[in-house]
């Protein structure tokens, strides 16, 4: 009898203790997930040895050394040797290039016209594509994806999380940049236009000038409308005066019909987003810098195989570079002088730089930014530089660092877990977490 009573009392005490623990540690909501890492590379300060990341729903709630951060009893815990922010692929075509590589699953290049900035990536992104799952299983959580290099302006790019069953679930930025290609990548050769570099640049400049003219018309019409409506509100009775002025032939500027192409170029011309310029040869990179000056636009250099030849000019122009995949093929053509040390050289010069998987028209249908960063790490960039280039530096370059790219309280709970150095060939990605959800587990 006595014994039974004691058990009951113990149970009550335990319950009270548990409730008070719950109240003290998590007064508002329950942690859904905790990640414990032998080393946590937060990318915001020094790595944390034997650390814990507490995830509250979709965001990181707390992190610190395991001695300082108590993991609640009811919390699911994942453990790993190495924890890093979910990897960011600064330029991919994932979601627009299907793995089968058949006409029906390829939406990266529309060949009907060389300049089509009105093509939205959003309208083609397939979040259920197999390569989305594939990249995710190596720890990639965010991609800057969209229309591929191959036309003067192939279309728009977007930023997506590798999650969700619809593009709406996935998207972070519906339009991130306008994708442009300079050099032989956009030149079509004989019988087709553009057939030369000069022609391609002339076509692009003409289009930008036309977009400027469109913008001026829109601005004039909007200014006039504002003036007119300002008059309406500031003083009654002005209507009559204005009407008479119009009647005398001084017509208000008409707003032009909406033009999606010029609207999209207008975003670049107004510096609302950069022009993403894929250029490999040094002279094509010079063209990109020249265009940026002429039109006073922001550009991001993409690929840039010969960037090391004109690195000072790139630095002086303050242009960031999404450097080509380290393992990009370089046997012949515009990439033949590519170096596996370009990322390291740009980093040494302090040029803002990020890593990418790039665009492949054949095999591998997608590269994995983790692998490309790993080779860059081994070819001079080093572990820290390579990890930054596919996490926080990529986030900054893409303008999404307020949400992703580092492990900090309040940021999106995007994490990649590895059983060793993430860049080592034989290391496995053991878990990938996006928005607090475990979307890959196992040994990949």
């Amino acid at each position: 009898m006595l014994r039974k009573f004691n058990m009951k009392q113990n149970a009550i005490q335990t319950m009270v203790a548990m409730v008070s623990l719950l109240l003290s540690v998590q007064p508002l909501t329950a942690q859904t997930l905790a990640v414990r890492g032998k080393t946590i590379y937060t990318m915001a300060g020094d790595p944390i040895e034997d650390g814990v990341v507490l995830i509250d729903g979709k965001r990181i709630q707390r992190l610190g050394a395991s001695a300082q951060v108590t993991i609640p009893d009811d919390c699911r815990v994942l453990e790993a040797n190495v924890v890093v922010p979910g990897l960011i692929d600064a330029h991919a075509t994932i979601g627009l290039t299907g793995y089968l590589n058949q006409a029906q699953d390829q939406d990266v290049l529309e060949r009907s016209s060389p300049i089509q900035p009105e093509l939205r990536a959003l309208d083609a992104y397939n979040p259920r594509e197999r390569l989305v799952e594939w990249a995710r299983s190596f720890g990639v959580t965010t991609v800057h994806t969209g229309h591929a290099p191959g036309e003067i302006i192939s279309g728009q790019t977007m930023i997506a999380k590798l999650t969700g069953s619809s593009v709406n679930d996935a998207v972070i930025k519906p339009t991130a940049m306008i994708a442009c290609t300079l050099g032989d990548g956009a030149v079509k050769g004989e019988q087709k236009s553009p057939g030369t570099r000069s022609k391609a640049v002339a076509m692009l400049r003409s289009e930008l000038l036309a977009a400027q003219a469109y913008m001026r018309k829109v601005e004039r019409a909007e200014a006039a409308a504002t003036e007119s409506s300002d008059g309406d509100t500031s003083a009654n009775g002005d209507d009559e005066v204005k009407d008479s002025e119009d009647g005398e032939g001084k017509k208000s500027p008409q707003k032009p019909d909406r033009n999606l192409r010029y609207e999209a170029l207008g975003w670049v011309l107004k510096k609302e987003m950069p022009l993403l310029v894929t250029a490999h040869r040094a002279h094509d990179i010079s063209v990109a810098l020249r265009l940026a000056r002429e039109f006073d636009i922001d550009i991001v250099l993409d690929g840039a195989a010969e960037a090391y030849l004109v690195a000072d000019a790139i630095k002086d122009a303050g242009v960031p570079v999404i450097v080509h995949p380290t393992m990009m093929r370089s046997h012949r053509g515009s990439t033949e002088n590519a170096s596996m040390e370009t990322a390291a050289k740009l980093a040494t010069l302090g040029i803002p730089m990020a890593m990418q998987s790039g665009y492949e028209s054949y095999v591998p249908k997608t590269r994995i930014v983790l692998f490309e960063a790993g080779i860059a790490a081994a070819y001079g960039l080093g572990f820290d530089g390579a990890l930054r280039a596919c996490t926080i530096d990529a986030a900054k370059l893409l303008g999404i660092d307020q949400r992703v790219g580092s492990i900090e309280a309040g940021k999106d709970a995007d994490l990649a877990l590895y059983d060793g150095d993430p860049f080592e060939y034989t290391t496995h990605c053991t878990a990938t977490i996006i928005n607090g959800e475990v979307l890959h587990e196992g040994e990949r």
Binding site: G98, Y99, L100, N101, Q102, R130, L131, W134, A135, E306, Y308, L309, M327, R329, S330, H331, R332, E336, N337, A338, S339, M340, E341, E360, Y362, V363, P364, K365, T366, R367, I368, F371, G374, I375, A377, A378, Y379, F423, E424, Y425, T426, T427, H428
Partner: protein
């Protein structure tokens, strides 16, 4: 002039054996392949061959030897790529699907920078393949990356002095296109079978004429049928590009029907028919690609193929298919296979001795043992680490790649001019024989 030459001779840099004299590479971790790893190992090279290999103090060092201290670096056999397209050659054209008369031998440019890049990746032997896109793209050639000035200097010869090579075949979607190419798998197999039956008839005529010693009965020479007869007699191994599980079985069926030696290449879906492959005793040359797909027949390509085939008991090698994967990073193929479950031992064999067996050269290359060719590489770390670099590559005792030389480093890393055709070592007074060549 003579004085200059003598000076150059004496200035031969460390790591290059004097002609005739032995060289001892000591203080190395040696991965011999087929034998346990040797700590503090010694490798003795003389006249392009391995004279001795073993632990320091356990093997005699020739007194007259040049001694090279490798300071703890790792030595392993030169890597063997069983399927490469380097050298800019093509083989068969687009005129017909079966072209056994075409020799890649006739179209290789030995100055192609890709060959120098391959040396930088630690490759010492290649099977250079013609094609692709045919049922039969032509005759392959086995070469050493020895900086020869001509293809004849690079070609590996058999005991009869004949240039060695196999025959490249393919099935699945690779060879399907407009007639006269096949449009279906069944047509593909039918075309190949008919041509091999023609070759059997041709072979019988030759044998009959020879048996009767009657030159009048000897058929007119037919280069295409001659090539196929070399397949039927086993002189040429068929290197068979095949991806899908059913295409793999079709290749095995043809091999069984006509009795030709086969090495299965690529085999993206080999993991689905591993038991059948093992039952047929077919060696597997696997490609490792970073993602599945890119073409229909590689839709089910996975990193685990090597691991699954190893567990089933198949002989597994890797290949670059360069330019599909980069020869400079060939070690990576084995490492990614280990990531997906393959054993370290078999993965390293898959870069070396397994490939040698598939090229029927395992008596000469693929492992480090006394009497074998001195084809070896010096690594600054574990062969399966991303951070490890090939520091030196030796072919038959000759240093053909040295990362410490800026001209060689250009090939290893890339940069301006790294893809230009280059003049293989020939004269270069300032270096002398056996010295750096670029």
């Amino acid at each position: 002039m003579f004085g200059l030459m003598v000076a150059a001779w004496l200035a031969v840099p460390v790591g290059s054996a004097l002609a005739g004299g032995p060289t001892v590479y000591k203080n190395a971790r040696i991965i011999p392949i087929g034998a346990p790893q040797i700590e503090n190992g010694v490798l003795v090279v003389r006249d392009g061959k391995i004279e001795a290999i073993g632990k320091a103090g356990e093997i005699p060092k020739p007194g007259d030897a040049e001694q090279i201290d490798l300071d703890g670096m790792t030595i392993m056999p030169g890597l063997i790529c069983t399927h490469s397209h380097l050298g800019g050659g093509w083989g068969g054209d687009s005129s017909e699907p079966i072209q056994p008369a075409c020799r890649i031998y006739d179209s290789i440019n030995v100055r192609d920078s890709g060959l120098q890049k391959a040396q930088a990746g630690g490759l010492t032997t290649l099977n250079v393949m013609p094609g692709s896109g045919h049922l039969l793209s032509g005759q392959t050639i086995y070469i050493k990356l020895n900086d020869a000035k001509t293809i004849d200097g690079a070609a590996i010869r058999n005991d009869e002095g004949e240039i060695m090579g196999g025959m490249k075949m393919a099935n699945g979607t690779n060879s399907q296109r407009q007639p006269p190419f096949p449009g279906t798998r069944a047509k593909s197999a039918a075309l190949v079978r008919q041509r091999l039956i023609d070759a059997q008839a041709y072979q019988r005529k030759i044998e009959k004429a020879e048996a009767e010693d009657d030159s009048d009965k000897m058929p007119e020479r037919d280069l295409a049928l001659e090539g196929l007869v070399e397949v039927l007699t086993g002189k040429r191994v068929v290197h068979f590009h095949t991806h899908r599980h059913d295409d793999i079985l079709t290749a095995l069926r043809l091999s069984e029907e006509f009795g030709f030696k086969i090495v299965l290449h690529h085999i993206s879906e080999g993991w689905k028919v591993a038991d059948e492959i093992v039952a047929a005793k077919a060696p597997c040359s696997v490609i490792v690609i970073d993602s599945p797909g890119g073409k229909l027949e590689a839709a089910e390509l996975l990193l685990k193929t090597g691991a699954v085939l190893e567990k089933a008991g198949a002989l597994v090698a890797f290949h670059t298919d360069d330019p599909i994967t980069d020869s400079r990073l060939f070690l990576r193929s084995a490492a990614l296979a280990v990531r997906a479950g393959m054993s370290r031992e078999k993965a390293l064999e898959a870069l070396t001795i397994a490939g040698a067996k598939m090229l029927e050269l395992d008596g000469r290359i693929g492992s480090l043992a006394a009497g074998k060719d001195a084809d070896f590489i010096v690594l600054d770390g574990d062969p399966l680490s991303v951070y490890t670099k090939v520091q030196q590559t030796f072919v038959e005792g000759k240093l053909v790649f040295d990362r410490s030389k800026s001209a060689d480093r250009l090939f290893a890393v890339g940069g301006y001019g790294a893809s230009d055709d280059h003049e293989p070592f020939s004269c270069c007074l300032e270096f002398g024989p056996g010295g750096p060549h670029h």
